[in-house]
């Protein structure tokens, strides 16, 4: 939580003018209280040739955690702040940016009564930030500061020198040098870019943030080649904050009690889900839904279960077809169901339409009486999220206990992975995939499952059927054999 600003000078233009420009006397150490700790300004050197001002912010970590007491995990708006063990007391984060704005507000505006002419002219500057949290690393730091006229020296700080295999931390030791910028410019750059690099603000984003950004960045931001990234990061915390508000705290606690990161457990819904208006479903997902709907239409199913409905994309498509009189979306993630309900606008749906659809939490690790009596069940991209040893339980819950007439299962075809250019060899398509099957493996499982429970099964490709590696998605349609068929088989 520390940075220094150094300038050099000559007898005519002494470096100690920095004291005037910053409105802080070089021979005194001054303290300023802020809402999260005390900011100190002091000068380790103050000579005519060279003068350095240091800003040191002492963050009160205990107060930071306890501020929002009583709400969830301590009530802090950002998950990282909820822990007493956090980097805020050390790293040059958005807290430092706020302190900078408070302590040097006149300098940032470029106002200096004592030396008005010097405030308006460039001066040789060197800014050192020894521990800058930078999501994006030294490379992004350079991309953000260089276009503004800085010479950037940025090196990543190792996580722990005793454990070199852990690699680098997200902190960068930053040195900025320029002689074409005013002090005001420098402060404005830091004020905006420190939080942008940190990418985790300590307070809720409110409407006046836009105004603050315009004030500090108005002059230079729109020319900046990374203007979009800067604006997004500065303001787009809104979505993440909503996400945090919706975070299932119970899940967070389960992660904590297991010394895991929250994201390891609370990941049923992709974090990077774009805002609703920008939704642009991948073509494969569309083709998959089309294929599923076609299979359902053929089976003449009216009452359909979408097992593992996620955010409800398939449910929404089914709602468009009156032939589906009863649609039940089931998912084990309450968060997914909440999002599905919002996306389907269940609360605003016409009564008759809403009566066709129900969403409820369920789990295929268990048999469930509520799943009985449906015409068809869809398991779209579900089985690969189950650990293989637990697949038999799912198989029994669906084919043995629920026993719908038709079951549609889709899953990735791992053979096709070589055709995805962006997918490194040997990688699964999604972090949570516990396995991905070849066509042969899928067929073996499906035929065995069908045999065990009195179903027939046929296979269909979804997406372009590559002559060598097959389609990207494979689909199996299971049909319950009638009593007659069973007897014929027995005979």
């Amino acid at each position: 939580m520390f940075l220094t600003i150094t300038t050099t000078g000559t007898p005519e233009r002494p470096a100690t003018d920095l004291g005037f420009l910053l409105h802080k006397h070089p021979d005194r150490a001054q303290a300023f209280s802020t809402s999260f700790g005390t900011a100190h300004v002091l000068y380790p050197e103050a000579e005519e040739q060279r003068c350095t001002a240091a800003l040191l912010l002492e963050v009160d970590a205990v107060a930071l955690v306890r501020r929002g007491k009583g709400k969830g995990r301590g009530g802090a708006p950002d998950a990282a702040l909820a822990s007493y063990v956090n980097d805020r007391p050390y790293a040059a984060s958005s807290l430092l940016a706020v302190a900078l704005g408070n302590v040097f507000s006149s300098a940032m505006r470029g106002v200096c009564k004592a030396r008005p002419e010097r405030a308006a002219e460039p001066l040789p500057l060197r800014v050192e930030v020894p521990a800058l949290p930078a999501r994006g690393g030294p490379d992004l730091v350079r991309r953000l500061f260089e276009p503004l006229g800085w010479t950037v020296t940025a090196g990543a700080v190792p996580l722990d020198t005793e454990f070199p295999e852990w690699g680098e931390s997200r902190y960068v030791r930053l040195i900025l040098e320029a002689d074409t910028l005013t002090l005001s410019d420098a402060l404005r750059h830091l004020y905006v870019l420190l939080p942008v690099l940190d990418d985790a603000k300590h307070y809720w984003v409110s409407a006046d943030e836009v105004e603050k950004l315009m004030r500090a960045g108005g002059a230079w931001l729109h020319h900046h080649p990374e203007a979009k990234l800067i604006t997004n990061r500065y303001l787009s915390r809104r979505w993440s904050l909503t996400r945090q508000a919706m975070e299932r705290l119970e899940l967070v606690r389960l992660a904590e009690s297991d010394d895991s990161e929250v994201e390891e457990i609370d990941n049923a819904v992709a974090a990077e889900t774009a805002p609703e208006t920008e939704e642009r479903p991948a073509p494969l997902a569309v083709q998959r839904r089309e294929a599923i709907l076609a299979a359902l239409r053929e089976s003449a199913a009216a009452r359909v279960l979408d097992l593992g409905c996620g955010e409800g994309h398939l449910v929404r498509e089914m709602l468009k077809e009156p032939r589906f009189t009863e649609i039940a979306g089931v998912d084990v993630s309450v968060r997914a169901l909440t999002i599905a309900a919002r996306r389907l606008r269940l609360d605003r749906m016409a009564e008759r339409q809403a009566a066709r659809v129900s969403l409820f939490q369920g789990s295929l690790a268990y048999t469930d009486n509520r799943l009985k009596g449906y015409d068809a069940a869809v398991l779209s991209e579900v089985i690969e999220h189950i650990d293989l040893p637990r697949l038999p339980a799912l198989e029994y819950a669906v084919f043995g206990a629920a026993r719908p007439r038709t079951v549609v299962v889709t899953t990735p075809n791992v053979e096709y992975n070589v055709r995805w250019e962006s997918l490194p060899a040997g990688h699964v398509r999604h972090r949570d995939h516990r396995f991905e099957w070849t066509r042969e493996e899928f067929r073996t499982w499906a035929e065995a499952a069908a045999g065990r429970h009195g179903y027939g099964v046929e296979f269909r490709p979804v997406g372009p059927d590559d002559p060598q590696v097959g389609p990207p998605t494979q689909m199996a349609v299971f049909t319950l054999k009638t009593a007659g068929e069973k007897e014929a088989k027995a005979a």
Binding site: P44, Y90, D160, Y366, A393, G400, G454
Partner: protein, 849 residues
């Protein structure tokens, strides 16, 4: 049964102890006097009294409707509670009696009629003598007597199981009432009993079992009584032989027998009724053709004499063919007989064409143990104090007996498959090996779990929802997840200068709870791990129903500890060898063992968290302080007064360095099993036995033997020190031990009652352990600078009550899971308790405690 007298002499009227007795007689016939003389005052409810209750006037006929509502209500409450009830009203009209018979049926008790047939003149005379009835018109009595006479012939058909008609005032005067026990009430018999499951004509197996139980020619030398749960006949090779043996034993008083649905059907056949010769009846009929007519008559009589169920041993034991819910125990009605014979069927049939039965035992909460048969199961296991003994002898399973009150199972294998079952004894599905697969209803929504050690524990809906997601998506196979460790409360916040936690408070707390001797166990610097180790794949298959793995190793939320199954198997293999070398398989007569342990290093599991949170803080602080201190020193050198600030920053830099040192102690690099350490500290359960109550010195002695016999250096011992909480010197030694250990960077210690499972003076469970974490270790919990006086002062404001309550509730659920596992209860019962622990873990509580 109708009894009528000759009009002279004293008659004894048998009246069942639990019944609804309806007195029938005209006004003035002497019903109230009769009732007063023969029954307890509280047993009798009169319509007059009820009229008084609702209308302040016992003779207000306009209040009759309401009065009878009240009468029926009170009678219903009494019958539900199992108390004989006498209704004192004229009851001369069929409609009035119909309502009472319905009431008796609703509560499954016998309706009994006692008719007081007294001449009109006598009634009139008596009424005239009473001021309140003096003006009752003569025609009312005449009508009553007319209606009574008309009713007499129909009473049995109306549903009264006993009808006693007393003619004339003389007979009424001299009659006595004799209380009879119900046929099913054998509470005075205390056995000991050997209850034997469905035999189904397996005569040879029956003889073998009787021999194994110690019977010689149907007689036990120690005077034990055999009790047969029914289904003696059909399907098997020698139903006549079985009947002959059982009938002789019953006749000679060496056995009791309740009827099964198969006897019932065969009995109907013997009485000449047309029944389908299916489900093995044809075999019985054919085998019986070789028997004499006389024997067949005896069999018919035997079957007719069987009572649907018995209540035995002071009400502690109920034997019945198809099981019986508590409200039916000791009652008598058609539907109880039907339930006793066939069970509670839902009316549906399953994929094999067999009736779907309602799982009544899953809801059973009764005091009496219910022992039954009827539904073939692979293993006889207790469930909610009920046990099914039909282990499919005729289908090639085994014939099972339960020794009572010892509760020991004795069985003999079937000699062969005598009859092909319509459906397999075991379901193929996971969990089917000992009952049924897990059902969502076992865990979903708000639930109350009954525990032996702490009563009813509630799981809230939102916590169950979170647990469902984690259990479904991340947990290890529930069959291999029979336990989750409870959370542990820290010691009360310390007042000792510079310390947030200190053993002093822990010892004091146990002393206050009346725990004199505690054990301090070194806290290992790893992650909690539970290990289930089976002796081999066969044991894993037989007991846990899994094919392949020989056990499991999982975290405190049930996730597989290691991603690589082969490394898990390697660890299990090392444990298995150590258990074998230490001779514990045989000593504990088990082929599996469940262990609570700590797996090290911490970085093995918490690597992600370590890097993203702990190491990051270390890196940031390490990067920032040199520059900051240099700047301050520079300013100081220039004469700027930063003395205090500089001193503080030096302190903070030192704190940050201490923090980095603290987390580094829990990290080291591992490669496969190289560098991995496992410190077991408790054997939780073995076959047939929960070891949660085994005192810790015995526990640790077993563990030490395991560590001793581990050749590979995987297992690590747990250092310990016993402390007498009442002895200041011993407490001092405990504190010194902790100071010494934590001073060298140790994580701290856990203080546990030496007796393991201990209750306080009020009978409540005391905390099974209290953690005292080291001063340095706490930096990685409360932050690098938590020891600064102003921080410590604020951090001392922490609230432990919820954490303590949570720890006890989770502990009780964990114990319950172990008991259910040890008792061989089905998977869903064990899982219910395990799931409860996980759900409670998601309750909001300060994660730093």
């Amino acid at each position: 049964m109708t009894t009528t007298g000759t009009g002279v002499g004293a008659r004894a009227l048998p009246v069942t102890d639990l019944s609804l007795v309806v007195l029938i007689g005209a006004s003035g016939s002497g019903k109230s006097t009769f009732a007063r003389r023969h029954f307890k005052p509280t047993e009798v409810i009169s319509s007059d009294f009820c009229r008084g209750l609702v209308a302040d006037d016992e003779n207000d006929q306009s209040a009759s409707r309401d009065a009878f509502d009240v009468l029926h209500y009170i009678a219903g409450k009494r019958l539900a509670a199992g108390r004989r009830t006498v209704v004192d009203a004229t009851s001369v009209q069929p409609e009035a009696r119909r309502q009472l018979i319905e009431l008796a049926r609703k509560h499954d008790v016998l309706p009994i009629a006692i008719v007081l047939d007294v001449p009109e003149e006598v009634c009139a005379e008596r009424n005239a003598a009473r001021t309140d009835r003096a003006d009752m018109p003569r025609r009312v009595i005449q009508r009553h007597i007319r209606e009574l006479r008309r009713s007499l012939r129909h009473l049995e058909r109306e549903g009264f199981r006993k009808v006693h008609v007393l003619r004339g005032a003389e007979e009424v005067e001299h009659a006595t009432v004799v209380t009879e026990k119900r046929f099913n009430d054998l509470t005075h018999l205390t056995g000991p009993f050997d209850i034997i499951g469905d035999v189904h004509g397996c005569a040879s197996e029956l003889e073998a079992l009787l021999g194994k139980l110690g019977y010689a020619d149907g007689v036990h030398p120690e005077g034990r009584t055999a009790v047969f749960v029914g289904d003696l006949v059909d399907r098997g090779p020698d139903s006549p032989g079985v009947l002959r043996r059982v009938m002789a034993m019953v006749k000679s008083g060496n056995a009791l027998c309740v009827p099964g649905n198969h006897e019932n059907k065969y009995g109907r056949h013997l009485r000449g009724r047309k029944v389908q010769h299916t489900h093995g009846l044809a075999e019985t009929i054919e085998q019986m053709e070789g028997e004499s007519e006389e024997f067949r008559a005896e069999v018919r009589e035997f079957i007719d004499s069987l009572v649907s169920h018995y209540v035995l041993d002071g009400g502690r034991l109920v034997v019945c063919h198809a099981g019986l819910p508590e409200r039916y125990h000791g009652r008598t009605s058609g539907r109880i007989r039907s339930h006793a014979l066939y069970g509670d069927t839902t009316g549906e049939t399953d994929e094999f064409g067999l009736p779907v039965r309602y799982p009544w035992a899953e809801d059973y909460r009764g005091r009496a143990a219910v022992v039954y048969g009827h539904t073939p199961v692979p293993e006889a296991t207790w469930l909610n104090n009920t046990i099914c003994l039909d282990t499919g002898a005729v289908f090639g399973g085994k014939l099972t007996a339960l020794r009572w009150p010892e509760r020991e199972l004795v069985d003999v294998p079937a000699e062969r498959v005598w009859y092909e079952p319509a459906k397999p004894l075991r379901t193929e599905a996971p969990g089917g090996h000992d009952g049924r697969p897990l059902d969502l209803a076992d865990v979903h929504g708000r639930r109350v779990v009954e525990t032996r050690h702490a009563g009813r524990i509630t799981v809230r809906e939102e916590n169950a929802a979170a647990a469902l997601e984690v259990m479904s998506r991340f947990a290890t196979d529930p069959r291999l997840l029979p336990y989750l460790p409870p959370t542990m409360a820290p010691t009360a916040t310390s007042g000792v200068d510079g310390y947030l936690e200190h053993p002093k408070e822990a010892f004091a707390q146990y002393a206050a709870d009346g725990v004199a001797r505690v054990v301090c166990e070194e806290k290992h610097m790893g992650s909690r791990a539970v290990a289930l180790v089976c002796r081999d794949t066969g044991a894993a298959r037989a007991r846990f129903g899994v094919d392949g793995p020989t056990g499991s190793l999982y975290t405190r939320t049930g996730r597989p500890f290691l991603d690589d199954e082969s490394v898990t198997e390697e660890i299990l293999g090392r444990l298995r060898t150590a258990i074998g070398e230490a001779g514990l398989w045989d000593e504990l007569s088990t082929d599996w063992m469940l262990l609570d342990a700590e797996l090290m290093p911490w970085s093995l599991k918490a690597g992600g968290l370590l890097r993203s949170q702990y190491a990051a803080v270390g890196a940031a602080s390490g990067a920032v302080f040199p520059g900051a201190l240099a700047a301050l020193e520079g300013a100081a050198a220039r004469g700027v007064d930063v003395t205090e600030l500089l001193a503080r920053q030096r302190g903070r830099a030192a704190d940050a360095a201490a923090f980095t040192d603290a987390y580094r102690r829990y990290c080291w690099t591992t490669e496969g099993l190289d560098g991995v350490r496992l410190a077991p500290f408790q054997i939780l359960a073995v076959q047939g036995r929960s070891l949660a109550a085994l005192p810790h010195d015995e526990q640790l002695a077993l563990i030490d033997r395991l560590v001793e016999h581990d050749a590979g250096g995987l297992l690590q011992t747990t250092r310990r020190l016993y402390v007498d909480t009442g002895d200041p010197e011993s407490v001092r030694a405990g504190i010194d031990w902790w100071l010494e250990m934590t001073g060298r960077g140790g994580e701290g210690m856990v203080v546990k009652p030496a007796g393991a499972l201990v209750r306080d003076a009020k009978g409540r469970l005391v905390q099974p352990g209290i953690k005292c974490r080291g001063r340095e270790y706490l930096r990685i919990i409360y932050g690098p600078e938590y020891t600064r006086p102003d921080n410590l002062a604020r951090l001392r404001q922490r609230f432990l009550n919820h954490k303590r309550s949570l720890a006890i509730r989770e502990y009780a659920l964990g114990l319950e899971a172990l008991d259910r596992l040890a008792d061989g209860e089905p998977l869903w019962r064990v899982h219910e308790a395990v799931f409860g622990v996980l759900a409670l873990e998601s309750e909001p509580v300060d994660p730093r405690l």
